[in-house]
């Protein structure tokens, strides 16, 4: 089955892509670039770098701009999916949804309307096992944004390795956050994945942080051999 993966640049969509590749044929990545930094549907920091990830994975990218008004975003998503179907003959969509009924139901409806399959390989996954797999299976993931206590500035740009996961676990036990950041507490960016032919090297980046709210903006990144 030919599938398109909704790609935000973060760990969940790219891990879902990897799971899909192990079972079916992934023929493109699809990304909606929201103008609204408070987007309900789409992860925002560095979403434009999905193009670099698509290039790293040697996959075509379908990119659609969105005005970012809540329900208008869904029309933009539908348009992106329709373009992916026209260009690449997709029969289904893959998302990285873990717990968000809000996101999952909206994508399910669009897929159903268009007669497409919908796959959510991380749906209600065991979060600890998932984070473990992410590291073990060769993903390089950095924190691209923090949006809640107790995340301090040193998390911005930090690589999610075993030590970071251990720290996240301790934080999740103590504070009301999810281990995966599914509640929007953190956003991530993937610089390497097992299916990347080349990896992404961040050359220039800037951080903005205030009161448990911060973003790590990648200004310049290049592809380098693995």
């Amino acid at each position: 089955m030919k599938l398109g993966v909704l790609c935000s640049g973060g760990k969940d969509s790219l891990f879902a892509c990897w799971r899909a590749m192990q079972k079916e044929e992934v023929v493109c990545l699809i990304t909606v670039v929201p103008a609204n930094p408070e987007s309900y549907m789409f992860h925002t920091p560095n979403v434009r770098l999905a193009a670099l990830q698509a290039e790293a994975a040697a996959l075509p990218l379908v990119e659609v701009e969105s005005g970012g008004v809540e329900e208008k975003e869904l029309d933009d998503l539908r348009r992106a999916i329709e373009i992916a179907r026209e260009r690449h003959g997709i029969e289904g969509i893959v998302t990285g949804a873990i717990l968000s009924v809000y996101q999952a139901t909206r994508v399910q409806r669009i897929c159903h309307d268009l007669g497409l399959w919908c796959f959510n390989p991380l749906w209600h996954a065991d979060q600890e096992a998932y984070m473990q797999s992410l590291i073990e299976e060769g993903f390089a993931v950095i924190v691209a944004g923090v949006y809640s206590a107790p995340f301090d500035e040193r998390w911005l740009g930090r690589r999610i390795d075993a030590a970071a996961v251990a720290e996240l676990k301790a934080m999740a036990a103590k504070y009301r956050i999810t281990l995966t950041g599914e509640g929007g507490e953190i956003e991530t960016f993937v610089t390497d994945a097992p299916f990347f032919k080349r990896l992404i090297e961040v050359r220039e980046a800037s951080s903005e942080y205030r009161n448990y709210n911060g973003t790590y903006r990648i200004e310049k990144a290049v592809l380098v051999p693995k």
């Binding site: 399910q108 897929c111 159903h112 497409l116 390989p121 996954a125």
Partner: protein
Amino acid sequence: MILIVDLCWKEESLSRYEFVSPIEGIVRGAGFPSVTRHFAGIEEGDLDGVSAVILCGTALQDNRFAGEVERFAWLRTCPVPVLGICAGMQAVAAVFGGRIEPDLRIGMTDVSVLRPDGIFAGKELFQAYELHAFAVAPPACFEVLAVSEGGVQAIRHVSRPVYGVLFHPEVRNEWVVTRFLEEHAGPA
């Protein structure tokens, strides 16, 4: 041992992560060992040593199971308790003489409990996640335990612990699966 039945269109499908793995996780969390089999490969011996059966759901586009209802004939004489979830409920209903009917529902709904059977004891109203393109007209030998605005949400055989729930309990209602196991599957 709990037998978990995968109703997806093929064995080891990409949908398995979404519809089977979460159920395996709930069963494991409740302290029960389990084994998973694909519906097309269930054999006589698969029920040996099994104390309960759970039939999982499928993707919205996936109705292969509904075209192969006779593969579920073993449910008619299944000696242990059964819980069918969404597609699993459709399979249960069809094999006992009910009907599978088109009914598209995606999202949260309010479920009202009509009969406080053990699984729903102490619950009158709860929110549940629906993801189905078909619902069921229950067979004559089943009673309705819970409904939503859209129709029947939970059924039970009148004389045996064979259940069906149309909503997906793995989303925000894990207690449904846990209670089914605690009530009907014996000690973990």
